[in-house]
Amino acid sequence: MAADKAHGTQSVGVDIPWDAVLDWGLALASSGLILSGVFFVLAGALGVLRMPDFFTRMHAAGMTDTLGAEFILFGLILQTGFSQMTLKLLLVAFFLFLTSPTATHAIANAALKSGLKPQLGTYKAPDLSQIEGSSNEADSDKAGGH
């Protein structure tokens, strides 16, 4: 610190520590990317829980495959700096881009071929305020049917 101060008084302009700025920028960018990836993964999980039937749930899971995974991978690429690991992570991202839709299509096709009918038309989530009693009772009513 003392050395920095002495150096600062000698130079005319403002001393910008470019290394530190770069480090901070990279850390911010990568954590931003990883956090938005986590957001999409969480939204995908929430969608899988909330959607009404198999085919609509698949759409929500697709979000996890694409933006969730890709954003996290891009964030990790920024974390590692440029090295062989960058290329490996890029390869992982590329293969995810190719394989995840193939898997999704295989599952959807299998469900269709085995006779699962997609639920069509407008769907709205049930309104919580119209369900009487606490949510626990409503759940046990549905499950037990007593």
Partner: protein, 162 residues
């Protein structure tokens, strides 16, 4: 045939180098041997053609993936909005999208792109086109798929109006 063998060898070598990153003679020898073995196997199985070795169109494919990524991001936001809305109003719809692509790999690229875009999943491929399941009815418009269809054909080297 020879052209595909050469291209496949180059791609496999680069791929192997990326994954291993060891430059000792013994390990490099293993790499060369496994590349030759794989290419020989492909030759014996008679699958050394444009479908197994689609790398000759790499530049256009990568350009297409860049365009597709932007579309994927846009569609993701639409789906996130639908999922997070308290009443979660969705309108699942089925539609058939015609496939203008001439080659099998072009059709595969198109169907995969539809699935990759959240909110639309390709369920079945038939003579008259791809059966698509869409999460929201406003995503189920066959005209909206035209651009993606032409671009995916173009990305694997087909002649299109683009």
């Amino acid at each position: 045939m020879v052209r595909f063998a050469v291209v496949l060898s180059i791609i496999m070598s680069l791929y192997w180098l990326t994954l291993s990153f060891y430059f000792e003679p013994l390990i490099m020898g293993f790499g060369v041997a496994s590349v030759l073995f794989t290419v020989g196997l492909c030759y014996r199985m008679r699958i050394l053609d444009a479908e197994t070795v689609p790398y000759l169109h790499m530049p256009t494919t990568l350009a297409y993936f860049r365009w597709l990524f932007v579309e994927v991001v846009k569609a993701n936001f639409a789906v996130v909005k639908a999922v997070l809305r308290p009443d979660m109003e969705i309108s699942p719809t089925l539609l058939t999208v015609p496939t203008p692509q001439t080659s099998d790999i072009g059709k595969t690229m198109f169907a995969n792109s539809i699935t990759l875009t959240p909110g639309t999943v390709s369920m079945d491929i038939g003579e008259d086109g791809i059966l698509v399941h869409a999460l929201l009815s406003e995503m189920a418009n066959a005209d909206d798929f035209k651009e993606m269809g032409e671009r995916s054909g173009w990305s694997v080297g087909e002649e299109t109006s683009l």
